[in-house]
């Protein structure tokens, strides 16, 4: 219709040329909203994809696998497995991440590689390199299998480090840095693509030697005969390996890891969820304000005889264009955001859950479409309501110059407040119910309740601010504060958006501090050793490269050592769950751990010999929650020697693992698990001995023979070790930084938009003020005062609302994810900082509109319609 075309030309295009900055800001608001949605989702997908990649690494062609936690399965079991009915292929594999050091290479030491140990003399079906290239790659498989220092490297690694056949490189092994030589370069395929292509392949015997696996493998891969049923074969295998290993589909392992990292994903999901909320809010805020400020224009169109439907059609068409452009801009922006998020969370995922190298995040077509559609829908909805309300208003009223006539209708503050109270009741009920889902919904509803209460609180704060302005500040401040109430709807929307952004940051900060306070108390009380030695990673986590038992004599007989304790920290699989088990010399430990008595939740008082004298264990409260075991109960655990029973002596506070933690004496651990490897040494200094000197001595003894540095060996005093733990915990909260940044951007955009339209609304009024003697400064102060009030109100409401939000987050979501009862500990300094930042940014955002207002030419402002 040419009529509509003309309308669009005169209404919409004019608008863009007349108010380019406003139009741009609105577009930016939509784009950022979409970017938030898409970015967080893509980041989540990438991290999850990395977990999935673990599965590919595991299998490729394997339909089933036989595993046994971190201690591994007996390699002899391969024969038992291979002869089972329905099994076509079976092969043992060793898998270990470790440090690589290329002598003379440009890039520094310390890069991690994934080492795969494969059985070249056994079933070659699972070889981790491109099919058919096996023969070309290895001229002499038998020679390779018998050479404990020969390895194959992935093409990516070879390219990055300039490696070729014959190149030398050093790997951290169970006995320190050892030199290897490259036999050939692999064309990556299947498992060798894992870990970003940074893969080295050894023969299984060489790997067993290098990593002290004596007779064990990490798993046995199983491929099925044609027509064999997975379930039938699995059952047959289970019967054969019962007590010595667990039969799983490879995907199970990935699932387990994904489930295990659920508490971590909680962080990501909360961020995504807030991103969704804030994103939609941002869009709604910018678009609805942009439409509302054109109420008069709508009135004029109606007055000159344009039909209601026509007016609405024009504004909806505009919204569709805006949503489309915003989406087109927001999707790639989301890709960038996702990259930043993944880069910030990858280290901690890798550290605590599994050694992953997440693929660079990628915005799938489906995700792009989803972000696009949500953005478009939010844009259209945001335009629809104010446009409809304007179109239904009497044209004369819409056109009236009197500002009161188009204040955007009354805001039913009381009703909203009552609704907010109801929502709060629902939150209380959900918190009582407990569980991850209830927690998430609860957090969402706290946000909703806070948003609903915002209008009433803004009115209240406005009254207070007005009094203060009247009393202590000049007229300009008072005029600025006056304006807040004139456009309560608009002010409230802005405050709500700012408040939600600030509240999210404050809540996460208090969540972090709650965990930090509890964890640091625990760390201080439960690490009595003076020097701690680990390899591969500082915290004996997923990157640990355990020492061989032969390394123990190197440290024995050191002067100044009162006690030397070899410690093992392993992941066990138990009823499909992963539990971390710490094995150490408990008699010494329980004598020296200062606060261990204070951490007992259940069971008789602790004496030093309780765990050493009999097969007993301590379990953490999350094990109690998950398995329902209590002090005095028996815990039955799978071991390579079959199932073993342990008495649960005590339930204790322990934050070693959010999956569950068991403390056992080294004696019983070795007896049952036949695993002599050492994840770390705890050194207790004799009285008066300087831990630093002890550390230096230990370092020298362990790396003797390692020429040119010893990558991945960590010898730390207990202070340094604890600092390391704290920074590791801090690192898990890195993901929140991105959301804080976004919150600030939201603050900036929201206030700029609101204040620009506030200024546009009052051009004529500003003209009058200037004409009768207001200086430019006074006009600017009025605008800044209004912006600052919006920031202040947001910050205050956010502080209050973050309290219940933190409570739900810590006590419901946190508990559901970790099984830890962590007392609330707010972070007043972070809350103050966020509050100050929001106020500062709001004031800063007011600067642009203030400048615009101050520079208005008086005659033109007076002529403004």
């Amino acid at each position: 219709m040419s009529g509509l075309g003309a309308l669009v030309r005169f209404v919409s295009l004019r608008r863009i040329t007349a108010a380019p900055i406003r139009s741009l800001l609105t577009l930016l608001g939509v784009a950022l909203g979409v970017a938030m949605l898409v970015g967080m989702a893509a980041a989540n997908a990438s991290i999850l994809g990395a977990f999935g990649e673990l599965v590919d690494r595991a299998s490729g062609k394997a339909a089933l696998e036989v595993v046994q936690g971190e201690v591994g399965v007996d390699r002899d079991l391969v024969d038992v497995v291979a002869t089972a009915p329905g099994v076509a292929h079976a092969a043992a594999v060793i898998e270990q991440t470790t440090y690589l050091d290329v002598p003379g290479a440009a890039s520094g030491p310390g890069e991690r590689v994934l080492v795969l140990g494969v059985d070249l003399l056994g079933d070659l079906f699972f070889l981790p390199y491109a099919h058919g290239s096996g023969e070309d790659v290895l001229a002499d498989p038998l020679g390779f299998a018998n050479d404990p220092r020969a390895l194959l490297v992935g093409a990516t690694l070879a390219r990055e480090r300039g490696l070729g056949p014959g190149s030398k490189l050093r790997l951290r092994t169970a006995t320190g840095m050892q030199e290897f030589h490259v036999e050939a370069v692999l064309t990556e395929a299947g498992p060798s693509q894992a870990f970003g292509g940074r893969v080295a392949v050894l023969s299984i015997d060489a790997a067993a030697l290098a990593f002290a696996r004596s007779g064990r493998a990490d798993r046995i891969d199983v491929a099925l005969a044609e027509h064999a049923s997975v379930d039938a074969v699995a059952d047959a295998l289970r019967a054969r390996v019962a007590g010595h290993g667990t039969v799983e589909r490879p995907s199970r392992r990935g699932e387990q890891i994904a489930r295990m990292s659920s508490s971590f994903q909680v962080g990501l999901q909360v961020s995504s969820f807030i991103a969704l909320l804030v994103g939609m809010f941002l869009i709604y805020n910018s678009v609805s304000i942009a439409v509302a400020e054109r109420r008069r224009e709508i009135g004029i169109l109606r007055a000159v005889g344009v039909s209601r439907r026509r007016v609405l059609a024009v504004f909806l068409a505009e919204a569709v264009v805006l949503g489309t452009l915003g989406g087109a801009l927001g999707v790639p922006l989301g890709g960038l955001l996702a990259r930043a998020v993944v880069a910030s969370v990858q280290p901690s995922v890798s550290r605590f859950y599994a050694a992953i190298a997440p693929p660079s995040p990628h915005v799938s077509a489906r995700l792009a479409l989803a972000g696009f559609v949500v953005g478009l829908a939010a844009t259209v909805a945001a335009a629809w309501f104010p446009a409809r309300s304007a179109a239904h208003t009497d044209p004369v009223a819409a056109m009236r110059r009197d500002i009161h006539a188009h204040a955007g209708g009354r805001v039913p503050t009381r009703w909203l407040l009552a609704a907010s109270g109801l929502v709060a009741l629902v939150v209380a009920w959900l918190a009582h119910l407990g569980g991850l889902l209830a927690g998430f919904v609860g957090i969402g509803l706290v946000n909703l309740a806070a948003a609903l209460a915002t209008p009433a609180l803004v009115v209240l704060l406005h009254r207070v601010a007005w009094r203060a302005a009247q009393r202590w500040f000049g007229l300009p401040v008072r005029l600025g504060i006056d304006n807040v109430a004139r456009h309560l709807g608009r002010s409230t929307l802005t405050v709500a958006a700012l408040m939600l952004a600030a509240m999210a940051s404050m809540t996460v900060a208090s969540y972090r501090s709650s965990f930090m306070v509890s964890m640091s108390r625990w760390v201080e009380q439960s690490i009595p050793a003076d020097v701690i030695i680990t390899a591969g990673s500082t915290l004996a986590d997923q990157h640990s490269v355990p020492f061989a038992p032969e390394m123990l004599p190197r440290l024995q007989g050191m002067e100044g050592v009162a006690y030397l304790d070899p410690v093992r920290f392993v992941t066990l699989t138990h009823r499909g769950m992963r539990i971390e088990m710490l094995a150490l010399g408990t008699r010494n430990y329980l004598t020296r751990a200062p606060g261990i008595g204070r951490q007992v939740l259940e069971g008789a008082p602790i004496e030093p010999g309780v765990l050493a004298d009999a097969p007993r264990v301590f379990v953490s409260e999350n094990v109690r929650a998950k398995l329902g075991v209590h002090a005095g109960d028996t815990l039955e655990l799978d071991t390579p020697a079959g199932p073993r029973r342990f008495e649960v002596r005590n339930v204790v506070v322990d934050y070693s693992s959010d999956q569950g933690f068991v403390l056992i004496d080294t004696r019983w651990f070795r007896d049952a698990w036949k695993d002599e490897r050492i994840d770390g040494f705890d050194l207790y200094a004799a009285p008066g001995v300087d831990p630093e000197a002890l550390a230096a001595d230990a370092r020298r003894r362990l790396s003797s023979g390692a020429a040119g540095g010893d990558s991945g060996l960590y010898v730390m005093t207990s202070r340094a070790f604890k600092t390391e733990i704290y920074s590791a915990i801090e690192q898990t909260f890195e993901v929140t930084r991105a959301s804080e940044l976004v919150a600030l951007i939201v603050a900036l955009l929201g206030v700029i938009g609101t204040m620009l339209s506030a200024v546009l609304d009052r051009v004529r009024e500003i003209g009058v003020l200037r004409a009768i003697g207001a200086t430019r400064r006074q006009i600017a102060v009025a605008v800044l005062a209004e912006a600052t009030f919006l920031g202040l109100a947001s910050a205050l409401i956010a502080v209050v609302a973050s309290i219940p939000c933190t409570a739900v987050f810590v006590s419901v979501v946190g508990y559901a994810a970790t099984g830890w009862h962590v007392p609330l500990a707010f972070d007043p300094s972070a809350m103050t900082r966020f509050a100050a930042t929001i106020v500062g940014f709001a004031a800063l955002a007011g600067a642009l509109p203030a400048r615009h207002a101050a520079r208005l030419e008086v005659p033109r402002a007076l002529a403004w319609e």
Partner: protein, 238 residues
């Protein structure tokens, strides 16, 4: 020759809108004033008349120190406005010029009394004396009882009377009004007009832009603008 210097003095004043210096207006430049020279002595009641678009408002804006001429010399209260910066112009407007516009004179969030006090409040002088003076001026325009009311509780005529009270509150020697009765019916307009006419004294000059011939009849001097130039000036003839 009169000993006192003239309140307003224009020499060959031109005002052009649009063109290179004024990109917002765009398109072809408009010459709103094309060489206006005139002198207004103290205590005169001057009516500016002329067809729409002849430059009346433009002239009043210049005299009211709201805008600067494109060329020519403009003196108000003896000060060459081209030599004053924006703050000095603002002070001049606040302290020595009263202004009444056709509509929307008042700030909607302030009470009638606060609106009257506005020039004083803006100069940071919110003393009880100022308050008393403002109340007296409200009384003088017959609205003493409406001091606490907001503009949206006042009629159009009442609003204009508050505007007059405000324009006079700091007792400026120059009062300007641009079609102050243009939005009012005749009777209401007459009341407002009386106030403005009555504001003229030996010390105070009053300049009104109007379409109303009856007002012109009561003025000391009628200045007729046409196409940006003074077409007729009864004062010059007198």
């Amino acid at each position: 020759m009169d000993a006192a210097p003239p309140v307003v003095e224009l020499v060959e004043v031109r005002k052009r809108y649009g063109g290179a210096l004024d990109d917002d207006a765009g398109g072809t430049p408009v010459e709103a004033l094309r060489g206006v020279s005139l002198t207004i002595p103290r205590g005169q009641l001057v009516a500016i008349v002329g067809p729409s678009g002849s430059g009346k408002s433009t002239l009043l804006h210049l005299v009211g120190a709201l805008d600067r001429p494109t060329s020519g010399t403009l003196r108000v209260h003896g000060e060459d406005l081209s030599k004053l910066d924006d703050d000095a112009l603002t002070r001049l407007r606040r302290d020595r010029i009263g202004y009444v516009f056709q509509f929307f004179n008042l700030l909607p969030t302030l009470s009638a009394l606060e609106n009257v006090m506005l020039p004083a409040l803006l100069s940071g002088r919110a003393s009880p004396e100022v308050r008393a003076a403002a109340l007296a001026h409200l009384d003088a325009v017959g609205l003493g009882k409406r001091a606490a009311h907001r503009p949206d509780q006042l009629s159009g005529g009442e609003m204009q009377r508050v505007a007059v009270a405000r324009a006079l509150v700091l007792d400026p020697p120059l009062l300007l009004a641009d079609e102050p009765t243009g939005n009012l019916d005749t009777r209401t307009g007459d009341g407002v007009l009386e106030l403005l006419v009555g504001a003229r004294s030996a010390r105070r000059t009053v300049v009104l832009v109007t379409h109303d011939p009856r007002i012109a009849a009561r003025a000391d001097r009628v200045l007729t603008l046409k196409d940006g130039v003074v077409d007729a000036d009864s004062g010059a003839a007198a």
